[in-house]
């Protein structure tokens, strides 16, 4: 004889595929986020190769060609944009990105990026700081901010 289950269990069993789909949807969300590179109107170029973007975001470039200091703004690694930045640009886990920056700043070789909570906060930083570069998920309409094409594409 089949075991009897409480009604709630049956409801849950019916909902299971839907819940699974939602869960998978959330898990893949970080990878689905399209990224856009933005920069202050002063400093960063309007177009870059993806390899150059990676190099800049790894702190390997201290100044832009016009002499402006490079400052990096990325979203916190707990946000979907931050997770996508780690995966798509650094090709590392969030933990490895944070460890990389801890090591680099600890050795005095580069200044760690500012990790932002919201896109608005990141845009505000980029608009106010010459030489700033940041990664978000949409084109920016803020004053003093430009979109940077990566390999000729936006988003990339």
């Amino acid at each position: 004889m089949a075991a009897r289950h409480p009604p709630g269990f049956m409801v849950c069993r019916k909902c299971l595929p839907v819940l699974l789909l939602v869960a998978v949807g959330f898990m893949t969300r970080a990878q689905d986020v399209h990224l856009t590179a933005i920069g202050n109107v002063k400093g960063a170029p309007s177009e870059m190769r993806s390899s150059d973007l990676v190099s800049v975001l790894k702190g390997e470039k201290q100044r832009w060609s016009d002499g402006t200091k490079v400052t990096i703004y990325i979203m916190k690694t707990t946000t979907p944009i931050g997770q996508s930045t780690c995966k798509k640009i650094y090709n590392w886990s969030a933990d490895k990105v944070k460890r990389y920056w801890l090591e680099l700043s600890f050795s005095g070789k580069a200044d760690a990026p500012t990790f932002c909570n919201t896109v608005e906060e990141l845009e505000s930083y980029v608009s106010q700081n010459p030489g700033a570069i940041g990664i978000i998920d949409r084109n920016s309409t803020s004053n003093g901010v430009k979109t940077i094409l990566i390999d000729g594409k936006n988003p990339f």
Partner: protein, 339 residues
């Protein structure tokens, strides 16, 4: 107006000016710390050990100037509180062009990868302890002086360090002789995670000076250190191999050579789990007078689990065979954190 009042007003104005100056550049200061605690089993005895507590400060002072400071609080027997504070690094950096910098202050001598990368943040160490090359006082860990530094230049990500400083037998405020120590180091990073480097260190230690460990030197010693280094930290495999050939010359004993080196290898079996081994070797030539001659071989095997990027636990077994002392067998457990 009294002298004391004048001084107070002067400092108040100076402080005000500095505050205004830094605010106008949007100064960004970060304070971080590291510490570790250990438990060890040696000679059938378990001991708990408090490691170093490291305070690390970075500050962007302006568009081109920045500061880095590292102070360590550590157990020091013989002091009134059994603890002492040491300034490990205090560096003012001036970025004069592109990826080229001028640094002045107290540095970790950029003689090899380990000394230039890990400093006192034990959570970043791949093993619990430093290699014997460091413990045996063979390389100068610190140099107070001035240096030129370049990094990530060209396709090979070439880097260089050229440093002049107070050398062997000196302290952080006074050199012991007219000769400055010279450090020249170059490296390339031809592939992701790979760094290959080579350095040269040259100095002369005057008779009557003391080594870092307090040993009195009674002859003038001319020293040359040659240190090759290969580091590879990939997604799975980690390899770090470094050595130093030390050539010490005195008019009395002639030239003596010492070799010290280690090789570390780890394999990431899961994202956070890395079993590892390290082999260390110290070999001193007979008649060496600057170093304490104590030929040593050590093997370390352990496992590291990174709970996250700020917390790591390591369990390690070490067997050490030395010329002068009893062999060492010990098991150590460490938890190291950053905060």
């Amino acid at each position: 107006m009294s002298e004391k009042r004048k001084i107070t007003i002067f400092y108040a104005i100076l402080l005000g000016c500095l505050c205004f100056y830094f605010q106008s550049f949007g100064q960004r200061t970060q304070i971080r710390g590291f510490m570790d605690v250990l438990t060890g089993l040696q000679n059938d005895k378990v001991s708990f050990t408090l490691g170093e507590q490291d305070l690390f400060i970075t500050s962007e002072l302006s568009d081109r100037f920045s500061f880095l400071g590292e102070s360590v609080f550590k157990f020091t027997p013989g002091t009134p509180t059994t603890f002492s504070v040491s300034i490990e690094r205090a560096i003012v950096k001036y970025n004069f062009q592109g990826n080229h910098n001028l640094l002045i202050g107290k540095h970790h001598t950029p003689i090899n990868y380990w000394n230039d990368t890990y400093h006192h943040g034990r959570v970043l160490f791949p093993t619990i302890y430093r290699p014997l090359l460091f413990e045996a006082d063979i390389i100068p860990l610190h140099t107070t002086g001035v240096s030129l530094q370049g990094q990530n230049l060209g396709n090979l990500k070439f880097g260089y360090d050229l440093m002049v400083g107070n050398g062997l037998g000196s302290d952080d405020v006074l050199d012991n002789n007219k000769r400055k120590s010279i450090t020249g180091a170059v490296h390339i990073k031809p592939a992701e995670g790979l760094r290959i480097g080579l350095s040269w260190y040259n100095d002369e230690m005057a008779a009557g000076s003391k080594t870092h460990e307090g040993k009195l030197i009674t002859w003038d010693v001319r020293q040359n250190l040659f240190s090759p280094s290969v580091a590879y930290f990939g997604n799975k495999v980690e390899v770090l191999a470094e050595s130093t050939l030390a050539i010490n010359h005195t008019d009395t004993t002639g030239t003596k050579q010492t070799f010290a080196g280690y090789i570390y290898a780890g394999y990431r079996i899961k994202e956070k789990l890395v079993p590892y081994i390290r082999f260390d070797r110290l070999h001193f030539q007979d008649g060496e007078i600057l170093f304490d001659k104590n030929n040593t071989t050590s093997i370390v095997g352990g496992i590291r689990y990174n709970i996250n990027y700020l917390t790591a636990v390591k369990l390690e077994y070490q067997y050490e065979q030395t010329e002068l002392e009893k062999n060492i067998n010990k098991v150590t457990f460490q938890i190291a954190v950053g905060f």
